[in-house]
Symmetry: D2
Subunit: 328 residues, 4 copies
């Protein structure tokens, strides 16, 4: 028996990818059902976040069955408001008809959340923003972003909406770009069913400390979910968690634990050139090692070091838990 | 006769500098009075922001006289809460005695603002933050930052306090790091005499669009002041304005004008290896060219382009004002 | 009559794009022939660089006819050694069979260069490199990169091969990542038909000064071609040239002119959300303005400023050519 | 008994610092002799790299005695060609007299190397480069850099000269900015007593993989020395080693071991706000843990993973050595 947290993954972890160079894709396309099957085969996943719409021809009942067959449940649903039709924006598209179409897709996704018994509609407005100086009137753009989210969330008071902020990509600059800006926007929205999904990598490469961002969101009661991965701080590489920033991901998990935040540890990774099941298993292996290291952390010593803001003492405590430092 | 805005500068523009390598300084030290004289010699400056304390032996009356002699007035006073004593933090120092000492220095600076008839106490808490993962308890640190500012500002309801945010340096990470986070903190402070001084370069290298940050602050009624400079987006280089980001500084000024924001155009530059008067004159020459270009901007065409988020059309309008594009 | 340089473009400027989010593409796919027609419609383009293979069903004769019909000629051919098959590397793929397949594709592209009378085979090994720490043996990887290029170029002594370096993307780290490293590698190759295509944006976001990189390549006799665009220094945004870094693109062109480098001014842009013809025309409008500004540059004054490394004097000279600074 | 490598430090690790904000310094100044005493008190240091000139009033004999008293020897001497006099450049200063003065200081430092029996003169030309676009003629600047180094090194054929490259700071852009460019320049110099000191942090924040840079330098026979520290990849933070990039520093040491490189593991850190002895001890504690982890690394498995470029397999091997992954 173990006290590990529940693990989850964005279902896109098990898709294959395209980018602007490998336009024929990094592998053959996979259907929603195939991705669910791969997710199930990882062995340690309890929940997935599903893109919506599903791949063509796949119905909701089939998805339910596939999830059940793999012992998975849905934690969230992510409407694809970043496909071609919305490439110049969803909430902030200059064309009111396309804004309306985006809202309609999100209303449908809300329905799917209800039917799957998921926790939230995840809103990732990756095409909302701008590319060039002088392209937009910034006041107008932000109003569109905030008003659109309010219209959406107020139509579904029974559901939660989790905004996943990100500094940029695919837009050169995104509107919901940081934890602080997201909190500001949610305050302007003025509803109690809008919160944030914190992506570790987005926070890191946006220049935040993910631990600090998590604390800020928790203090505002807005941390609806989180997912993890890694990068080199310059881009949203969506690498496998723990491959670069071991200490900072450990600080992130420590902060969640200290706040009694007990949600799912969720993977948002893009294993372009790796086997996705192998990548997920390697990730969870690392997450479990980090979880055990949390248990070993000398909290009293760490508290004392932090009260004095003594970075060296804190590091020694951390490394004693994380590394083999038994022999000096 | 001209309608140029009033120009100003941080008085440190006319100081000489040290850094961790040229520990003997990039030039001989200058007193507050010598710096004021240099500022006056630029010829186009109306106001300065003064560091406090003044250099040893210089009294407030002398400063007043020196300013008057140069036809300058004080726009703000910047208490040096980033010197040795406060190198582990001012508001967020782990030692309550040093926090108290920092507050006392800021109370004195507030008094100097009154006596100089300046507009604001500028608060730049450059040493508040952290350097290492796990060094601080992020929740505690933010509370110290917010509570300290509240204590300071509530003691001087007759004065304004302008927080100058910055992502980092000298701390590896600063607490007041962005426009959005500053607004959040000011809302938590809950007083109406705390606002923001927006530094163009801080915004730029923090991954914001300075024009967008300005709009957000104006929409919250919090843009108390601004200063300009330039950098390569990776660090606070404090280069001379307009030497790298001509289009973005132009968008910044355009945004201020569209909002009817009519404050001082202020220089915050560190001409380490340049003559400071030459650097200031070159800067103002550029600022005047940008100001004239603003007059040439085809606002109707720009508005139309921005309503359609048509980046190319907007660029053509901008370049017609900024460059010689008369001949196609 | 005008003395403008010849203008060119990568043919992909007129394609439509996909990325990992808008997997259904930013617009309907275009064939090689349609892209050529769009390139021709720009009106100021003389040459294009063509991806190879052409889109399915399009033959070489059709391409020749299409180019002729638009008054275009081929400057280079870019074999697509970054598609699915090569997503784990072309020259540096761990599988010798795939390395061989990549070479065969490049041999075919060499043949197309001959038949089109183009200047060079452009080699852009975007999938050569690594994603994770410890993933590769760095010595082995570099040897594969160098040896493969030697094998390729030595098989075609009548042709030129232009390596286009780039710091990263799609690989998290690319092997040919900078001007200096490319020169080193070419020295190791030891052939006189291998050079460099310098992409302004790659240089800029790789932390180089593009003007300095151009000078270094010219001094080694290796600047075979160049293309231009823009970005925010953190990523290869492939924005329209001159929209962000006006001064630095101007310095780049100035450096080329001072060295008597008279090649094509070529666009390598990805107008994801813009009309490609409109984007190309806006680009060339800017390039022409920059070219005229070069004519206005006071070279004697600039030379004097640079001899003294007087940055302020140099800036004034530059702005006098670039902006309206007639009225002080 | 232990097989740990010899540990060393730049003597500046035990100085106190100033920067452009804390102009009164992060602590009271320390003399060369006091710094040596602190270095000795760490307990695990064998060698130091000494700045030259020593602090005023300290002679060479005193330094020798102080080193002997602490059981330390000199590995290198670093002439301070970045102080005020050289703030506009040492080798690349526009003024030939100052270039000459810089060379004279370096000749003196060469003499000190002889007298201390050190391994190399370390050349860190931090003020050589430029700040602004158009400030310099890049061809001229590079020639000054290369010719000056040649003149210096050819005057001392009995000594080694180790260039420490760095992307930037204090100059906005430095001439010797990367491993590849340094190798190129050394080839142009054409002498066999010029090599490179690789600083892990400089490499990291310059966008290199430090392991790859080390391999490249070793393959050219030019890795004369190295030092370690850490940063957030955006700046030369000179943080304590291993506090951020555990995996990448481990890859770096692994690469050195695989090449049989057996030099000193040297600290180049700036503990602005930490006790320098505590920081050095914490560093060496980490370095020892990493060294033990190297012994645990399953080399056969790693070799196999790298031959297949299998990032996941490599990660598991690495984490098995680095972390507690005993329980799955």
């Amino acid at each position: 028996m173990t006290d590990y947290p529940r693990f989850g993954a964005g279902l896109w972890h098990f898709a294959s990818y395209v980018d602007r160079y490998a336009v024929d894709g990094y592998g053959p396309p996979r259907t929603t059902l195939e991705a669910i099957e791969l997710a199930g085969s990882v062995g340690d996943l309890s929940v997935v976040d599903l893109n919506y719409p599903f791949t063509p021809g796949v119905g909701l009942d089939e998805v339910k069955e596939a999830l059940a067959a793999q012992g998975l449940s849905a934690i969230g649903v992510t409407p694809e408001i970043y496909l071609r039709r919305f490439c110049r924006g969803a909430f902030t598209n200059p064309d009111p008809e396309i804004r309306q179409a985006a809202l309609e897709l999100m209303h449908q996704a809300a329905d799917v959340v209800r039917q799957l018994g998921a926790q939230y509609v995840k809103i990732w407005p990756g095409q909302d923003g701008w590319d060039y100086p002088f392209q937009v009137n910034h006041g107008d753009l932000w109003r569109l972003a905030v008003d659109g989210m309010r219209e959406l969330a107020s139509a579904h008071p029974d559901l939660k909406f989790a905004i996943e902020y990100k500094p940029r990509e695919p837009r050169v600059k995104m509107t919901w770009d940081s934890a602080a800006r997201s909190i500001l926007g949610i305050q302007q929205i003025g509803l109690d069913n809008v919160g944030v999904l914190l992506d570790f990598g987005h926070s890191l490469y946006g220049g935040e400390s993910p631990a600090d961002a998590a604390q800020l969101l928790i203090d505002h009661g807005l941390l609806y979910g989180m997912d993890v991965n890694d990068n080199l701080r310059g881009w949203d590489d969506d690498l496998v968690v723990g491959t670069v920033h071991l200490t900072e991901i450990f600080e992130f998990f420590h902060t969640l634990r200290m706040n009694g935040w007990e949600g799912v540890w969720q993977l948002d990774q893009f294993p372009f050139r790796e086997d996705p099941v192998d990548a997920a298993r390697t990730s969870i292996r690392t997450l479990k090692a980090l979880h055990r290291a949390l248990d070993r952390l000398d909290l009293a010593a760490l508290r004392q070091a932090q009260a004095a803001q003594d970075a060296m003492a804190a590091q020694r405590v951390v490394q004693d838990a994380l590394l083999d430092t038994a022999i000096g």
